[in-house]
């Protein structure tokens, strides 16, 4: 008897490495480079082959998945640190100000209390959010604030959260954010194109967004809470990846339904299908409503079980989150002291 497993081969020679980017935290091995997805032609036949998504079965899978795996003690602390390293610390409020954004950046640079860092014995490495995520007007402020840390600045662009401005306006917004120094761009798709099955139009829009990004990484937000079916989620995911997305992302956080595990499962299966077809590794970003340490573990388990270890690095996995960090801090303190902690014991963003 013999066995082989097809795992993502991150060192494959068929892929071209990304321009070197400084890492937000030292935990990421510097040779851990992911070849950037060049995209491919819109292949409707390929889409047809992945359109069978059985919601009921996916719901059963995620229901048992979170019961099949349990992470305890030191491993739990390690996994929670991983969640922080894979975080886009986010503020996307209509009342954001530059000062608020600076505070967010300060928190990203110094996420943990000193005694927690020492207690966990992690002072030898820097573990902190991979990026901060802000609206366009605050990109320059954020870039300034995190300069020299390796923390990326992500901008939500393209008429976030609805995506309904003229395409030219949306592209100009991307270009403006890139000019201001954003190196990750989170774009939204017009959901109507999915309902109309206007795949060619959606594909072309994303291709031009990718072009507007240049070297900045493109995260495509599907607005899954609006897409009604997991089949739509799967098909929209495939179009986004074929058009050159570096990441696919669930939600803006503004839809009435945010990131759910069944939606996440459909999207990571899309990523797996794309990898099996092309050899390229696409990142995944669930966002919206993920606010507890327990929930973050569920998502990490989903990634490990469905995609494997490579997808537990910030190059391929991000949480879009704002209040998650504090809850993780509380759990880490509890891990050290055995006392349940309180929010006010940890510095706010």
């Amino acid at each position: 008897m013999s066995s082989t497993i097809r795992e993502a081969d991150v060192g494959s020679s068929k892929v071209t490495p990304l321009p070197a980017r400084a890492a937000a935290n030292t935990a990421v091995p510097h040779d851990h480079r992911i070849a950037r997805n060049p995209g491919m032609k819109l292949d409707l036949g390929f889409m047809e082959s992945v359109r069978s998504v059985n919601r009921s079965a996916l719901e059963r899978r995620v229901a048992s998945l979170t019961k099949r795996r349990s992470i305890k003690a030191d491993n739990q602390a390690a996994w929670l640190l991983r969640a922080v390293a894979c975080m886009d610390l986010t503020t996307l409020n209509s009342n954001d100000t530059e000062e608020r954004v600076r505070r967010l950046c300060a928190k990203a640079i110094n996420p943990f209390r000193r005694d927690i860092v020492e207690g966990l014995g992690i002072s030898g490495e820097t573990i902190r959010p991979a990026a901060v995520c802000v609206y366009h007007p605050f990109v320059a402020t954020a870039v300034d604030a995190v300069r020299g840390t390796g923390i990326h600045v992500a901008a939500v662009s393209t008429a976030f959260p609805h995506g309904l401005a003229p395409l030219s306006t949306r592209l100009q917004e991307i270009e403006a954010s890139v000019r201001d120094g954003a190196d990750e761009i989170d774009v939204v798709i017009p959901r109507g194109l999915v309902f109309g099955a206007k795949w060619r139009e959606l594909y072309n829009e994303i291709v031009s967004m990718r072009a507007a990004c240049g070297d900045a990484h493109l995260k495509v937000i599907l607005g899954t809470g609006d897409l009604a079916t997991l089949r739509n989620v799967m098909l929209a995911s495939m179009v986004a990846m074929m058009a050159g997305a570096d990441f696919i992302k669930t939600s803006t956080g503004k839809e009435s339904i945010n990131a759910t595990l069944p939606v996440g499962l459909a999207m990571v299966r899309a990523i797996r299908a794309y990898f099996e077809e092309t050899g390229y590794l696409i990142g995944f970003k669930p966002a919206g409503g993920i606010s507890t340490a327990k929930a973050s573990l569920d998502w990490l388990v989903l990634m490990k079980e469905e995609l494997g270890r490579p997808w537990l690095e910030p190059e391929l996995f991000r949480f879009g989150a704002s209040s998650l960090l504090t809850d993780i801090e509380r759990q880490l303190e509890h891990h050290l002291t055995g006392h349940y902690s309180a929010n006010h014991r940890h510095a706010m963003a």
């Binding site: 008897m1 013999s2 066995s3 082989t4 497993i5 097809r6 935990a27 069978s52 998504v53 059985n54 919601r55 009921s56 079965a57 996916l58 719901e59 059963r60 899978r61 048992s64 019961k67 099949r68 795996r69 349990s70 992470i71 305890k72 003690a73 030191d74 491993n75 602390a77 390690a78 996994w79 640190l81 991983r82 966990l120 014995g121 992690i122 030898g124 490495e125 573990i127 079916t229 997991l230 089949r231 299966r269 797996r272 990490l300 490990k304 079980e305 270890r309 537990l312």
Partner: protein
């Protein structure tokens, strides 16, 4: 390893479930007094014990009292003593007890789960999230049936004292499946758990003590084969319910033959897991994890045969292998374990032996790279490809984590492969096309069909097999019938036919000679042996001669019945019209049949005319009910509907009594036909001319060839041939007691569903013998699970 190392490794690490409560429970008990009889804890009368050990280590857990036949006598006596009061208790009173059991189990569910995992080796996730909650659900669900008995089952009462024998693969869950409906029906029980897994039943008995179950209503006897045999053969037991191997099931069928005991058997399987090219393949792979790698594959309904459409076979197999490599094999008490040890070394050796033999026969066996724990009865998940239908891995129930894979070209071949087995317990169909899935489900010979799912169970839905997977259903309305009985009004005792040596006297008068042949495949044919049987009138004169049917005529008749596809596939409305037409045509010749009855039986003209009229009325009744005895839609606590379909049993042999020879024959044939069965009937040995006279009526009435076949001859001989015929699905037998007992014993070849009068006829004229009582025997209930949501 420090936290940073763990941060880089991102492994799960151990997550052991605490066992201190379970260990304390084990330490506090004297298992040499583990027989729960009449509300007391007793040692085995012979003082014997057996050992139960922990499959993950082989370590001894307890020495448990081993019941002897005398202990079974005591348990049956206790159950018998408790029966009158319990069965007379109001439904509400019984409901309160069932409810209390369910709630008490809920309060101790983690202890149940940990004990089950320690004793059986199943992963704690499964005992905690599946077995124990489902067991609780059974008691709470059946509390409702206890109270709804009069409303839903008028005329029925509990069958009495029941003996129940359960397996080791789901010790607590199988106990719940057995005890909950029995208590709801007003029965008292003697239940024997499996020797490998006695512990949770002992905890359950303690729950019964506290939940107000009257003494003697639930008796739990730990023991081995001696106890099992004593239960099966005990004259004080009115029903046996068994879950276990087909081999033992057949022994029980034989042992209970002629005893009049009601019997339900839930046996082995080789269930097909069929994946069509338009399926959600990733979800189908997860289905396999829940199908064949659930409980280490030690599941009677495990999806052990993967049938995959050729075009997607490579893609699916690749996905399966990747998924298998992520299954975690290890300590069953670890919350991250997917696959624990098998229950016992003997089971491990058996599985290894079958895999080796399958490989020798050409299967390619693949296992993921994974280390097995140093001790314990572990077996890696195994995928067998290039499996031919004749391979032992495709034929035999492995009862281990071994998946046998075959490909198919089209839907028709998929169905053929799925049904190419002696078993018929469950099946799984994966397709996103509802048209395809609901086209395939009714064609699968299986008691349970899951569409885009697998191993879904619920107390409201029936579970049980076709073919050699056994008979009877557990769960839901259909399951309640297994513990209920409605006494049908009896007819005369049937004596063995005596062959008269004296030739009948020649009749008076001058008529043209008539030859009554057999009726097979829509044609009147001569008997294969070319002998005849002389039939006398009531006055001893020669009434005529009929063909002396033999085993070969039965063989031909069964072939014709099997070949007749148009009748089972006809719409119920269509069958209804044919039965009405039969009634119409019989009515046109009512006088002739009345005269025949007078001539043969000596009936008065009035009585004869009444029997003919009643026969016509009965045909009318079943014509009308053909499209009304419908299935149900169950509603399990999930986003799914479960369609409990009424399907024909298949080919039904009918051996009709002498009493009311026309009415009796039609009372049996008509309900069988109404539900879409095809029939091989052996009419009364003394009065077969009433049946041969029917040939023309049948021929006029648009009955498709093969739907009704009639073979005249010696009842005992032909009943025996039918009983031993492995392509006969059901046998209804009204003959002398010896013939009935022998037929029950002989039916083990294919475990056909046998219904006999145990040597008594029924009062065929009674309305109670018409309707649901017979229609229920004419159908198999198939539960088709259809989860939905888009």
């Amino acid at each position: 390893m420090n936290i940073l190392d763990r941060y880089h490794a991102m492994e799960y690490g151990p997550a052991p479930e605490a066992r201190n409560e379970a260990d304390a429970w084990l330490a506090a008990r004297d298992f040499s007094k583990a027989l729960f009889i009449g509300g007391d804890w007793k040692a085995a009368s012979g003082g014997k014990t057996f050992e139960t050990s922990e499959p993950s280590s082989g370590k001894l857990l307890a020495k448990v009292s081993d019941a002897s036949a005398a202990d079974i006598d005591a348990a049956v006596a206790a159950a018998t003593k408790a029966l009158p009061k319990w069965s007379a208790a109001s439904g509400y009173q019984r409901a309160k007890v069932l409810y209390a059991i369910g709630r008490a189990m809920q309060r101790h569910q983690r202890l149940f789960a940990v004990l089950e995992t320690i004793d059986n080796g199943k992963p704690i996730r499964e005992s905690r999230d599946i077995d124990v909650p489902l067991a609780i659900r059974h008691f709470i669900h059946h509390a409702g049936w206890a109270q709804a008995l009069d409303r839903d089952f008028p005329g029925h009462k509990g069958v009495g004292v029941v003996g129940q024998i359960i397996p080791w693969n789901f010790p607590l869950l199988m106990l719940a499946w057995k005890i909950a409906p029995a208590l709801a029906a007003g029965c008292t029980v003697v239940l024997k758990p499996a020797e490998f897994t006695p512990l949770t039943a002992i905890l359950f008995a303690e729950i019964c003590e506290r939940a107000g179950v009257p003494k003697g209503v639930v008796n739990i006897v730990q023991g081995g084969p001696e106890a099992g045999v004593a239960i099966v053969n005990h004259p004080g037991i009115q029903k046996i319910a068994f879950t276990g191997s087909s081999e033992v099931g057949k022994i029980i069928r034989k042992a209970t033959a002629g005893s009049g005991k009601k019997l339900s058997l839930e046996l082995g399987g080789k269930s097909a897991f069929t994946v069509f090219e338009d399926a959600d393949l990733d979800s189908a792979v997860e289905g396999l994890v829940d199908g064949i790698w659930f409980n280490q594959g030690q599941v009677c309904c495990a999806g052990s045969r993967l049938l995959v459409q050729e075009g997607i076979a490579d893609a699916l197999i690749a996905k399966v292998k990747t998924r298998m490599s992520r299954l975690r094999v290890g300590s069953p008490l670890d919350k991250n374990t997917d696959i624990g040890p098998l229950v016992d070394l003997t089971q491990l050796d058996r599985v290894k032996g079958l895999v080796a033999e399958g490989a020798r026969q050409g299967a390619v066996c693949w296992q993921p790279d994974a280390a097995l724990p140093a001790s314990g009865y572990y077996h890696l998940p195994t995928l067998a490809t290039s499996v031919s239908p004749a391979n032992i891995l495709a034929q035999e129930e492995v009862f281990g984590p071994v998946l046998a894979t075959m490909t198919f070209r089209n839907t028709e071949e998929a169905i053929e492969l799925a049904n190419n087995t002696r078993y018929g317990l469950a099946a799984s169909v994966w397709s996103e096309n509802v048209n395809l899935a609901l086209h395939v489900a009714p064609q699968l010979k299986a008691g349970v069909v899951w569409v885009n799912g697998t191993n879904m169970f619920d107390a409201a839905c029936g579970f049980g097999g076709y073919r050699e997977s056994g008979f009877g259903r557990e769960g839901g309305r259909e399951g309640m019938f297994e513990y209920l009985t409605a006494k049908l009004p009896l007819g005369p005792v049937i004596k063995p036919a005596t062959i008269s040596a004296k030739p009948a006297e020649q009749p008076d008068g001058d008529t043209i000679d008539r030859t009554a042949k057999l009726f097979i495949g829509g044609k009147q044919v001569r008997p294969d042996g070319n002998y005849s049987l002389t039939i006398a009138t009531a006055k001893g004169k020669l009434a005529g001669e009929v063909g002396l049917g033999s085993r070969k005529d039965i063989r031909d008749a069964v072939s014709a019945a099997r070949a007749c596809k148009s009748w089972p596939e006809a719409t119920a409305y269509n069958r209804s019209q044919v039965l009405y037409y039969l009634a119409e045509n019989l009515s046109g010749r009512a006088g002739e049949f009345a005269a025949r009855l007078i001539e043969l039986t000596g009936a008065t003209p009035k009585a004869a005319r009444e029997e003919v009229d009643q026969t016509i009325e009965r045909l009318f009744l079943y014509a009308g009910l053909a499209d009304k005895f419908e299935g149900r839609v169950h509603q399990p606590p999930a986003r799914a509907v479960t369609l409990a379909l009424h399907e024909p049993v298949g080919v039904v042999g009918i051996v009709a009594p002498d009493s009311s020879p026309l009415l009796g024959l039609i009372s049996l044939i008509a309900p069988a036909l109404a539900m879409g069965n095809t029939v091989v009937a052996v009419p009364s040995e003394r009065y077969p001319l009433l049946a041969t006279d029917l040939y023309q009526v049948i021929e006029y009435s648009d009955v498709p060839a093969g739907a009704i076949n009639i073979v005249t001859g010696r009842t005992a001989e032909l009943a025996g041939v039918l009983a031993k015929h492995d392509d006969v699905d059901g046998l209804w037998l009204f003959a002398d007691a010896d013939t009935c007992a022998k037929a029950e014993a002989d039916s083990v070849g294919n475990l056909k569903r046998v219904w006999t009068g145990n040597g008594r006829s029924l009062d065929w004229a009674s309305d109670e013998v018409a309707g649901d009582a017979l229609l229920r025997r004419a159908v198999e209930v198939k539960n088709v699970w259809v989860p939905y949501g888009d």
